[in-house]
Symmetry: C2
Subunit: 116 residues, 2 copies
Protein backbone atom coordinates (compact mmCIF):
# COMPACT_ATOMS: atom_id res chain seq x y z
CA UNK A 1 0.00 0.00 0.00
CA UNK A 2 1.26 3.45 -0.97
CA UNK A 3 1.63 5.66 2.09
CA UNK A 4 2.33 9.13 0.75
CA UNK A 5 2.26 11.07 4.04
CA UNK A 6 5.18 11.07 6.40
CA UNK A 7 6.06 12.92 9.57
CA UNK A 8 9.41 14.58 9.11
CA UNK A 9 11.14 14.64 12.38
CA UNK A 10 14.47 14.79 13.98
CA UNK A 11 14.74 14.00 17.64
CA UNK A 12 16.25 17.21 18.96
CA UNK A 13 16.61 17.46 22.70
CA UNK A 14 17.11 20.86 24.25
CA UNK A 15 18.37 21.54 27.73
CA UNK A 16 17.30 24.77 29.40
CA UNK A 17 16.33 26.20 26.03
CA UNK A 18 19.51 25.44 24.07
CA UNK A 19 20.20 22.52 21.73
CA UNK A 20 21.73 19.67 23.68
CA UNK A 21 21.49 16.61 21.44
CA UNK A 22 20.28 16.12 17.92
CA UNK A 23 20.96 13.34 15.40
CA UNK A 24 24.09 15.04 14.05
CA UNK A 25 25.56 15.60 17.51
CA UNK A 26 24.79 12.02 18.46
CA UNK A 27 26.45 10.82 15.25
CA UNK A 28 29.53 12.82 16.19
CA UNK A 29 29.66 11.25 19.65
CA UNK A 30 29.10 7.81 18.17
CA UNK A 31 31.99 8.31 15.73
CA UNK A 32 34.29 9.53 18.50
CA UNK A 33 33.42 6.36 20.39
CA UNK A 34 34.27 4.24 17.34
CA UNK A 35 37.33 6.09 16.05
CA UNK A 36 38.80 7.34 19.33
CA UNK A 37 39.57 10.66 17.63
CA UNK A 38 37.70 13.93 17.26
CA UNK A 39 39.61 14.71 14.06
CA UNK A 40 38.68 11.41 12.42
CA UNK A 41 35.05 11.78 13.52
CA UNK A 42 34.81 15.36 12.26
CA UNK A 43 36.29 14.42 8.87
CA UNK A 44 33.75 11.67 8.45
CA UNK A 45 30.94 14.15 9.12
CA UNK A 46 32.57 16.74 6.82
CA UNK A 47 32.83 19.29 9.56
CA UNK A 48 35.98 21.06 10.71
CA UNK A 49 37.81 20.00 13.86
CA UNK A 50 36.89 23.41 15.27
CA UNK A 51 33.18 22.86 14.67
CA UNK A 52 33.32 19.42 16.21
CA UNK A 53 35.21 20.65 19.23
CA UNK A 54 32.80 23.56 19.70
CA UNK A 55 29.89 21.10 19.75
CA UNK A 56 31.65 18.85 22.23
CA UNK A 57 32.46 21.77 24.50
CA UNK A 58 28.79 22.76 24.45
CA UNK A 59 27.66 19.25 25.33
CA UNK A 60 30.34 18.83 27.99
CA UNK A 61 29.31 22.12 29.57
CA UNK A 62 25.59 21.49 29.48
CA UNK A 63 25.80 17.90 30.72
CA UNK A 64 26.17 17.24 34.45
CA UNK A 65 29.44 15.38 33.73
CA UNK A 66 31.82 15.48 30.74
CA UNK A 67 30.77 13.30 27.83
CA UNK A 68 34.00 13.36 25.84
CA UNK A 69 37.47 13.44 27.30
CA UNK A 70 40.56 14.40 25.26
CA UNK A 71 43.69 12.39 25.77
CA UNK A 72 47.16 13.92 25.96
CA UNK A 73 49.18 14.47 22.80
CA UNK A 74 48.83 18.00 21.47
CA UNK A 75 45.89 19.91 20.06
CA UNK A 76 44.92 17.55 17.25
CA UNK A 77 47.38 14.85 18.04
CA UNK A 78 45.80 13.08 20.97
CA UNK A 79 42.86 10.82 20.92
CA UNK A 80 39.49 11.33 22.52
CA UNK A 81 37.26 8.93 24.35
CA UNK A 82 33.68 8.88 25.39
CA UNK A 83 33.40 8.81 29.15
CA UNK A 84 31.35 6.12 30.87
CA UNK A 85 28.82 8.82 31.50
CA UNK A 86 28.82 9.68 27.78
CA UNK A 87 28.24 6.07 26.80
CA UNK A 88 25.35 5.78 29.24
CA UNK A 89 23.84 8.95 27.81
CA UNK A 90 24.12 7.61 24.24
CA UNK A 91 22.35 4.43 25.30
CA UNK A 92 19.53 6.41 26.84
CA UNK A 93 19.24 8.63 23.79
CA UNK A 94 19.01 5.51 21.62
CA UNK A 95 16.23 4.13 23.82
CA UNK A 96 14.29 7.40 23.62
CA UNK A 97 14.89 7.52 19.87
CA UNK A 98 13.47 4.02 19.53
CA UNK A 99 10.33 4.84 21.51
CA UNK A 100 9.93 8.01 19.52
CA UNK A 101 10.20 6.11 16.22
CA UNK A 102 7.57 3.65 17.47
CA UNK A 103 5.26 6.52 18.38
CA UNK A 104 5.56 7.98 14.91
CA UNK A 105 4.72 4.57 13.53
CA UNK A 106 1.64 4.45 15.77
CA UNK A 107 0.51 7.75 14.26
CA UNK A 108 0.90 6.56 10.71
CA UNK A 109 -2.60 5.26 10.12
CA UNK A 110 -4.11 8.58 11.23
CA UNK A 111 -1.62 10.36 9.04
CA UNK A 112 -2.63 8.51 5.88
CA UNK A 113 -6.24 9.55 6.55
CA UNK A 114 -5.29 13.24 6.52
CA UNK A 115 -6.85 13.90 3.15
CA UNK A 116 -9.47 11.22 2.61
CA UNK B 1 10.04 19.84 39.68
CA UNK B 2 12.54 21.35 37.26
CA UNK B 3 12.44 19.49 33.96
CA UNK B 4 15.37 20.82 31.96
CA UNK B 5 15.15 18.50 28.93
CA UNK B 6 12.65 19.09 26.19
CA UNK B 7 12.02 17.56 22.80
CA UNK B 8 11.99 20.31 20.21
CA UNK B 9 9.61 19.36 17.55
CA UNK B 10 7.42 20.75 14.90
CA UNK B 11 4.86 18.49 13.33
CA UNK B 12 5.89 18.64 9.69
CA UNK B 13 4.01 16.38 7.34
CA UNK B 14 5.52 15.62 3.96
CA UNK B 15 3.70 14.19 1.01
CA UNK B 16 5.72 12.20 -1.51
CA UNK B 17 8.90 13.71 -0.16
CA UNK B 18 7.94 17.40 -0.24
CA UNK B 19 6.68 19.56 2.61
CA UNK B 20 2.90 19.44 2.70
CA UNK B 21 1.87 20.86 6.09
CA UNK B 22 3.83 22.35 8.94
CA UNK B 23 2.77 24.63 11.80
CA UNK B 24 3.33 27.81 9.77
CA UNK B 25 1.34 26.52 6.80
CA UNK B 26 -1.45 25.41 9.09
CA UNK B 27 -1.46 28.82 10.76
CA UNK B 28 -1.80 30.42 7.33
CA UNK B 29 -4.78 28.21 6.48
CA UNK B 30 -6.34 28.89 9.86
CA UNK B 31 -6.01 32.65 9.37
CA UNK B 32 -7.51 32.45 5.89
CA UNK B 33 -10.44 30.61 7.44
CA UNK B 34 -10.84 33.34 10.06
CA UNK B 35 -10.17 36.43 7.92
CA UNK B 36 -11.55 35.27 4.57
CA UNK B 37 -8.57 36.89 2.88
CA UNK B 38 -5.14 35.70 1.83
CA UNK B 39 -3.78 39.24 2.04
CA UNK B 40 -4.99 39.75 5.60
CA UNK B 41 -3.67 36.32 6.63
CA UNK B 42 -0.27 36.90 5.03
CA UNK B 43 0.10 40.31 6.71
CA UNK B 44 -0.61 38.79 10.07
CA UNK B 45 2.13 36.22 9.51
CA UNK B 46 4.51 38.91 8.16
CA UNK B 47 4.88 37.18 4.84
CA UNK B 48 4.22 38.66 1.43
CA UNK B 49 1.03 37.91 -0.47
CA UNK B 50 3.24 36.20 -3.06
CA UNK B 51 4.77 33.90 -0.48
CA UNK B 52 1.39 33.03 0.95
CA UNK B 53 -0.07 32.36 -2.46
CA UNK B 54 2.91 30.20 -3.45
CA UNK B 55 2.35 28.07 -0.32
CA UNK B 56 -1.35 27.76 -1.04
CA UNK B 57 -0.70 26.74 -4.62
CA UNK B 58 1.67 24.06 -3.39
CA UNK B 59 -0.87 22.72 -0.90
CA UNK B 60 -3.72 22.90 -3.42
CA UNK B 61 -1.64 21.00 -5.97
CA UNK B 62 -0.39 18.33 -3.57
CA UNK B 63 -3.78 17.72 -1.94
CA UNK B 64 -6.32 15.51 -3.70
CA UNK B 65 -8.79 18.44 -3.72
CA UNK B 66 -8.24 22.21 -3.41
CA UNK B 67 -7.91 23.45 0.15
CA UNK B 68 -8.29 27.19 -0.49
CA UNK B 69 -10.51 28.75 -3.10
CA UNK B 70 -10.09 32.38 -4.24
CA UNK B 71 -13.23 34.43 -4.78
CA UNK B 72 -13.68 36.83 -7.68
CA UNK B 73 -12.60 40.46 -7.39
CA UNK B 74 -9.13 41.04 -8.83
CA UNK B 75 -5.75 39.72 -7.89
CA UNK B 76 -5.62 40.92 -4.30
CA UNK B 77 -9.13 42.30 -4.14
CA UNK B 78 -11.24 39.21 -3.74
CA UNK B 79 -11.55 37.10 -0.68
CA UNK B 80 -10.51 33.53 -0.16
CA UNK B 81 -12.24 30.69 1.61
CA UNK B 82 -11.23 27.36 2.94
CA UNK B 83 -13.08 24.62 1.10
CA UNK B 84 -15.04 22.01 3.05
CA UNK B 85 -12.24 19.65 2.20
CA UNK B 86 -9.72 22.15 3.61
CA UNK B 87 -11.63 22.47 6.85
CA UNK B 88 -11.81 18.70 7.23
CA UNK B 89 -8.07 18.47 6.64
CA UNK B 90 -7.37 21.11 9.30
CA UNK B 91 -9.47 19.17 11.78
CA UNK B 92 -7.54 16.01 11.07
CA UNK B 93 -4.22 17.80 11.36
CA UNK B 94 -5.33 19.17 14.73
CA UNK B 95 -6.24 15.66 15.90
CA UNK B 96 -2.86 14.30 14.80
CA UNK B 97 -1.12 17.26 16.43
CA UNK B 98 -2.91 16.52 19.68
CA UNK B 99 -1.93 12.85 19.68
CA UNK B 100 1.62 13.83 18.82
CA UNK B 101 1.78 16.29 21.72
CA UNK B 102 0.49 13.58 24.06
CA UNK B 103 3.17 11.19 22.80
CA UNK B 104 5.88 13.72 23.52
CA UNK B 105 4.42 14.10 27.01
CA UNK B 106 4.56 10.32 27.44
CA UNK B 107 8.27 10.43 26.60
CA UNK B 108 9.03 13.14 29.10
CA UNK B 109 9.92 10.96 32.07
CA UNK B 110 12.46 9.03 30.01
CA UNK B 111 13.80 12.30 28.73
CA UNK B 112 14.49 13.71 32.17
CA UNK B 113 16.49 10.55 32.90
CA UNK B 114 18.82 11.20 29.97
CA UNK B 115 21.72 12.31 32.14
CA UNK B 116 21.15 10.82 35.55
Amino acid sequence: MHRPYKIVSQLEIDKNGGCFLNPRRVELLQLILERGSILAASKELRMSYQQAWAIIKEINTAAPLPVVSRQRGGTHGGGAVLTNFGMKMLERYAAIQQKYAQMLLDLDDDLQELCV
